[in-house]
């Protein structure tokens, strides 16, 4: 059973297309593993086992009669519990939405259903994908499969934990300041924040409208590319959706990164948020891999990290208050303390200050694109390895610098992949950032690195 549960999407879909693996068998392997082990991780908040079994039987019958219709046909997946699923509760882990059952699927869910995927259930998140970890909300926080005393980071915590644990090969999360990439980093998997506008957010509960992205998490960059292919595309119902051609992401994974110019924001890593010595060493080793593959690495200068953080957080606190103001005014006790603290002052920010932050965003995005016109990619760690799962002072949201937020401000595609393990067997991470709508090059670099290193052969033991 475990062997099946640790197949990648690419491997499983090949076997399914060859009729050597049944979607029913694969689905049962995941359900058995979730049943046996998820009480240790709390990565799922809702399991849709009977629906999954029915969808698996349908997929098996269709494939046996007419062949596979694509790489996700018969592949199980799960969704962060902020993606609307018709007839299945969508809670955002909040007491405010404890009984929320949407009547319509999110755009992403519609696309995964159309691709023949099999929904296993909904994953734990931080409350409304923002405040956490919390112990005073609807469900307990997910834990890290590499060390259950450690945090899987957030807010797509259950999604990343489930993939790393072999509970599902695919999941979708959301990323407003790092909520796909942070959990992917902490759990040692691949997670992509696509270019802003590439994937529809219709039917995804909002965190901060102007910075929200939906995107895939999986074990490998190749699997992320397969998922992105299924969910990318214009949607008139998402006002930020971009009407752009969608390339063939999987065929872009050539393994060739020779001649790529890679920029490293040295000042961020040395002065503004200095890396720990082990993380620095792992990052340098990752850059050496790219040098060995023929890429050129050089330092670049970006605007100060704090400007990106101040800009995004000012915009976010206002937009969060706009979303939750009515509930804060009438039933503040239903919020977890962490989320409430992080949004309660948003109603006191003046319109002039919000617009100053929006103008700063334009400046910062321009600066980022200007630097990315001189290099093909930026690389930096996503974060330090996971810390202990414990209450975090909510003020840290306003004070802790972030290596991920700048690329929400700029809208650029940013992938987190595993780049080794520390002495405690916790994953290191590498963040690969590309030009707007050049998600394919980001995935190509991530895939080339994974194939040149041994890290994808290591799984957590639960």
């Amino acid at each position: 059973m475990s062997e099946l549960a640790f197949l990648t999407i690419a491997e499983a879909s090949r076997l399914i297309a060859q009729r050597k693996l049944s979607p029913v068998e694969l689905t049962e392997a995941y359900l058995a593993r979730i049943d046996a082990l998820d009480s240790r991780l709390d990565s799922f908040v809702t399991l849709t086992a009977e629906r999954a079994r029915a969808e698996a039987k349908q997929a098996e019958a269709a494939i046996m009669s007419a062949g596979s219709r694509g790489r996700l046909h018969g592949i199980p997946y799960c969704l962060k519990d902020i993606f609307d699923t018709a007839g299945i509760r969508t809670t955002a882990m909040s007491k405010l939405l404890a009984d929320n059952v949407p009547t319509r699927d999110s755009a992403c869910q519609e696309k995964l259903v159309a691709a023949g995927g099999i929904l296993l259930g909904k994953n734990a998140t931080w409350e409304f994908a923002h405040g956490g970890p919390s112990w005073d909300i609807l469900f307990p926080p997910a834990r890290n499969p590499w060390d259950r005393t450690c945090s899987p980071a957030g807010s797509s915590s259950g999604s990343a934990a489930a993939v790393a644990a072999g509970f599902a090969p695919a999941t979708l999360g959301s990323d407003t300041g790092g909520s796909i990439r942070g959990p992917a980093a902490a759990c040692g998997i691949a997670g992509l924040k696509p270019t802003y506008g590439l994937v529809s957010r219709r039917g995804v509960l909002p965190n901060c409208f102007s910075h929200d992205h939906a995107g895939p998490l999986a074990w490998t960059a190749e699997d992320v590319a397969i998922l992105l292919q299924a969910i990318a595309g214009h949607d008139a119902e998402d006002p930020a959706s971009a009407d752009v051609p969608i390339p063939d992401y999987a065929s872009a994974l050539t393994g060739d990164v020779e001649g790529l110019a890679i920029g490293v924001p040295a000042r961020w890593l040395e002065d503004e948020m200095p890396l720990s010595a082990p993380t620095r060493a792992a990052f340098e080793a990752a850059l050496d891999v790219f040098r060995g593959l023929g890429a050129n690495v050089r330092p670049v200068t970006l605007p100060p990290l704090q400007q990106f953080d101040d800009c995004k957080r000012t915009i976010a606190v206002v937009e969060l208050f706009t979303i939750h103001g009515k509930d804060l005014r009438t039933r503040p006790e239903l919020f977890g303390a962490s989320l409430r603290y992080r949004i309660i002052a948003g109603g006191l920010v003046r319109a002039e200050e919000y617009l100053l932050a929006m103008r700063l965003r334009t400046d910062l995005a321009r600066s980022l694109q200007s630097v990315l016109s001189t290099v093909d990619l930026l690389m930096l760690p996503t974060s330090e390895p996971a810390g202990k799962l414990a209450p975090v002072p909510p003020a840290s949201l306003f004070t802790r610098p972030s290596f991920t937020t700048p690329f929400n401000v700029g809208g650029n595609p940013a992938l987190s992949i595993c780049s080794g393990f520390n002495d405690a067997k916790l994953p290191f991470s590498l963040q690969i950032v590309g030009r707007l709508f050049d998600d394919a090059t980001v995935l190509r670099a991530g895939d080339a690195y994974e194939k040149a290193t041994p890290w994808r052969s290591m799984r957590p033991v639960l």
């Binding site: 000012t314 804060l328 603290y341 992080r342």
Partner: protein
């Protein structure tokens, strides 16, 4: 130079924003606002008069689609 904002000022701003909070949450609000106030104060100002406020209304978005 402006006087530093007091706790009473913050609670008055909150009431103006429709937040008439129970006492248990007032300390939380005052502390959180301190962080937000410091963050907002760091935003660079002094923009030109004609600077686009970054909320662009794009009329073509609302044009009916032609068959």
């Amino acid at each position: 130079m402006t006087d530093p904002i007091t706790d009473d000022d913050i609670l008055r701003l909150a009431r103006l924003a429709g937040l008439d909070l129970p006492p248990a949450y007032r300390t939380e609000l005052i502390e959180a606002y301190g962080h937000v106030h410091a963050m907002v104060a760091r935003l660079p100002g002094g923009r030109p008069h004609g600077d686009e406020p970054a909320h662009v209304f794009v009329p073509t978005v609302f044009q009916p689609k032609r068959p």
